[in-house]
Symmetry: C2
């Protein structure tokens, strides 16, 4: 048990540097907890000469992450480069082929290639761990795949993109429109180089697909995640939702239904007083529901050097302690692709539309909803300006297809001024 565990780290950005710092600062603590030393033998990054605030002099340097992954003095390949393909994937594959375990924070790579990588690791008798890929410092992969292993998971929900949650909560607190807060977030460096990854829900969708695979024992299938970003969420909708006791969150929901696996990442209304509704700023939250455990809520920082490095180290320590777990919690060879649910679970919906301010306009909308079998729970109308009226409707529970039928009719109405907004109200 006293053989050191030797790490090779590829990618020395914020997270990689954080991992190096922890291993340097806590050598004794880590060795005591793991029962063996945890050491870095080699590192790799795009730029060698850069002040990272930590000395790399003790470690071998590789320009090529694939070469790092193959080194004989590396037991665990730590992939912190990012990107779904390219060097990250090539090096991960090389590591597995060379008999290394892998720890990665790369949600995009696993969302797209998780099944293939898991199979390769399984055949090679190696593990892939990815706690840092989902919800930053929150040990949610561990909670789901280990702590709740005695449950049939019934639903997984999460606010897993801190940038989107920052934008949505800041819009409400400062009363600012989306575009203004988006630009603020950009200046603060909160956005990915391609901001669509954040605000389009893609990053959070990647994470949801990974949780789904573990929760429901199926192949990861990011392509089946129904994605809707926050770009169209207006300050008006945020305010109206708040007036009615709701918050708008970019919420991921995965559940296995009689119609197949439902995976959605979209702006939803949740009760303002619920844990999800109360989540402010860049913090992440994941809700895990199982038939025995009922509901567990996990909350913590979704990004940043310390929290993400903490998650990487959780995986490293598991490997150092000899814990061997299949990538998605059970043998990858036995995972089937889930049938994707053709429609979403029925829900209440929030609708907002702008109508001509003339007699009968509202009646036309109400009629179309009624014809689609949708009953109205609450309705508010207030004058927008001299010629238009803003109408807010909260429906009773309905299917999305019934709603789409009604919306399609409403879209054709001659009294409609702008396309209606329809947001799902999630039961939490």
């Amino acid at each position: 048990m006293n053989t050191p565990l030797r790490l090779g780290i590829a990618g020395l950005g914020t997270v990689g540097t954080g991992v190096v710092k922890i291993i340097r600062q806590k050598a004794n603590l880590l060795a005591t907890r793991a029962g063996r030393p945890v050491v870095i033998t080699a590192v790799s990054a795009r730029t060698r000469d850069k002040d990272r605030g930590v000395s790399l002099a003790d470690y071998a340097w590789e320009d090529d992450p694939v070469a790092l992954a193959k080194r004989d003095d590396v037991d665990v390949f730590i992939e912190l480069m990012g990107g779904s393909d390219g060097p990250a994937k090539a090096a991960t594959e090389a590591a597995i082929a060379s008999g290394k375990d892998v720890v990665t924070a790369n949600k995009a790579m696993l969302a797209h290639h998780g099944q293939a990588l898991a199979l390769a690791a399984e055949e090679a008798g190696r593990v892939i761990r990815f706690e840092a890929a989902v919800a930053g410092g929150i040990p949610v992969i561990k909670a789901l795949s280990e702590g709740l292993a005695g449950n049939d998971i019934t639903r997984v929900m999460g606010v897993m993109n801190g940038t989107c949650n920052y934008i949505l909560t800041r819009m409400l607190s400062a009363g600012l429109p989306y575009q203004t807060v988006f630009e603020e977030a950009d200046k603060l460096g909160y956005l990915e180089a391609d901001p669509t990854l954040d605000v389009g829900g893609i990053d959070a969708g990647h994470k949801l697909s990974l949780l789904s695979a573990i929760a429901f024992g199926v192949q990861v299938d990011f392509g089946a995640v129904v994605l809707e970003g926050i770009e169209k969420v207006t300050i008006e909708d945020i305010r109206h939702a708040a007036d009615m006791g709701y918050r708008i969150k970019l919420l991921g929901v995965a559940q296995m239904t009689g119609r197949g696996l439902e995976q959605r990442m979209s702006p939803c209304l949740v009760p303002a007083q619920s844990p999800l509704g109360q989540l402010e700023g860049g913090t992440n939250m994941v809700v895990l529901e199982g038939d025995n455990v009922e509901q567990i809520v996990l909350r913590g920082p979704g990004a940043g050097m310390g929290p993400t490095a903490s998650a990487v180290m959780g995986d490293v320590m598991d490997i150092a302690r000899g814990f061997r777990l299949a990538t998605f919690g059970q043998p990858a060879a036995g995972l089937a692709k889930a049938q994707a649910a053709s429609t979403a679970t029925p829900a209440r919906y929030y609708l907002r539309m702008s109508l001509d301010d003339k007699p009968g306009a509202l009646a036309k909308v109400a009629t179309l909803l009624g014809e689609a079998g949708i009953s109205i729970d609450r309705m508010r109308q207030h004058d927008h300006d001299e010629t238009s009226a803003a109408v807010l409707i909260v429906t009773h529970k309905t299917t999305r297809s019934a709603l789409d039928t009604a919306l399609s009719g409403i879209n054709k109405l001659d009294v409609l001024q702008t396309e209606p907004v329809a947001l799902r109200i999630e039961t939490v």
Copy 2:
């Protein structure tokens, strides 16, 4: 890997029955996730003939849990009898001596004998797991000892007795005095046979001492937990706290300070808008703070058949998967007893007292506080009746010893009508 893991379950109350149900209902799922079958071979309980809603016909029966613990066809002894000593301890010791791993929900036994049992297990090469002993279904032991293994833990806090939280939140929501709600809770079956275990903070203190041992790498030391129950919390204090934006919670706090290890379980004020402040009813919450992860908040059901059995199964599945972890996350032989902090970390305090309604009364109190070096942040006085005035004071940060000096003087004042109430305001 296809050798079945054979369980012997001692104690077939709510939790034990829940575990039997899960293993019967989810045999395939558990085998897939663990890579091997998980089976029950023998059970033991005080009463054999009792309808538990689940068949025990497939399992050997033992009247004596010690005999069960020694059986050759048992790999893991599941201790769900409870009690710090007696049969639970005897059977656990017998199991370890017979080379069995142990899974237990017994916080009292581990709080009192955790170090000795951990040493025995270590010498025998066996593990003791106790996820179900702390915070019900929340996988907090796992999060702390594994997920956050790359952190120096800086503070652990928790609301870990659902009954107390039920009583305190119900007092506020229904406006009822302590005694009335206590009797309600008793009728609802929420209280332990000895209710002091709940309302005296002992049960929650047991849990805190277990988390402390893991968090700070020290011997479990329940005797060093400064305990204060909720028996003296009045509806007046709950209301006054609410008026000032606080909630009163039975809050456990453990932190390592320059003065030694601080472990407190006591009624504290926390901000109403914080996750702890918002926690209602029987739900538990644990807050874990580490130098890298910052703050993780875990919330979930603190008791009940399903959640507690879920936690037991998490431990069973870890053992089935071959995960071997020292009882408190590092070798017990290396754990030292921590110096207990002689005083609590300075904090703001809420004070309430009833004074004679005559000139100069308040000045005397203010003078004594000032002489002890305590400055006043907020003060409210309102007539109580014709002869007395209720005085509420929120102090700035002070030491408990300075406060005790002031309180000792205040207690001697001739204008004082009832003993002052002093509650700590915790920073969360």
